[in-house]
């Protein structure tokens, strides 16, 4: 179980190898990678800056990871989130979950992303080619995605 907040890029293959190296009890690994999209033709995104709340981010991601470990039998997990200036095509976030069985790995990774999207203190500021950039609005659908995890538990 590990959380890293960093400016530099990550490499999925290396992170997965590191996480399960030498283990023979893991049957399923799911990774999620979030990437900066370039926008559409009329309003291309030039770059994006991710601001975060350094004191809180690490603790909040660790809480979310602990919650996932509490709900699913995970043998290993990893969250990496970048901050600073990013370009279209750049990696933003990596979530990795390892478990004996595939459904636990899939569900835990999906849960981690839904929680991260609504709880991790990061804010995106886009620069767009037509000057329409600025702080990205939160998506109502991200809040709604959380609801399904509540009904599973309560």
């Amino acid at each position: 179980m590990a959380v890293r907040i960093q400016e530099q890029d990550f490499e999925i293959g290396a992170e997965v190898r590191e996480l399960v190296h030498g283990r023979t009890d893991v049957g399923a690994i799911v990774t999620f990678t979030g990437i900066v999209r370039g926008g559409d033709a009329t309003t291309a995104i030039t770059d994006m800056t991710l601001e975060h709340y350094p004191g809180m981010t690490q603790a909040e991601l660790e809480r979310i990871e602990a919650e996932a470990s509490d709900r699913w039998p995970l043998q290993a997990s990893l969250i990496i989130h970048r901050f600073g200036k990013l370009l279209p095509g750049d990696n933003i976030v990596l979530v990795v979950t390892a478990s004996r069985h595939r459904h636990a790995a899939f569900e835990a990774a999906s849960f981690l992303m839904d929680y991260l999207k609504t709880r991790a203190p990061f804010w995106k500021n886009e620069t767009r080619s037509d000057g329409s950039g600025g702080w990205v609005d939160a998506r109502e659908s991200d809040e709604q995605s959380l609801a399904r995890w509540h009904t599973n538990r309560d």
Binding site: E51, H52, Y53, H81, T118, W123, K124, N125, W135, A138
Partner: protein, 93 residues
Amino acid sequence: MTETMQSDQTVRILYFAWMREKTGRSEETVQLPASLVNIADLIGWLKTRGPEYEAAFDRAEVVRAAINQTHVKPDAPLAGAREIAFFPPVTGG
């Protein structure tokens, strides 16, 4: 002490994203009036401190808060708070 006196509670207040831009500051240290019980009270008090605060908290319902680096609701008590943060809904991931 009476409700109008200053308490001994000094807190660091942090602002992120457009809350930082609207208030014009990333952080400040303030002594909380003892009359303030929860986050909603603090927001009401901050709005009296100048037009930049009024603008930042104009739509208070969209502003999120954390006390000591943990998400809280507007009715969360200020007692024990050392660091309070205000920010828009998060957009990471």
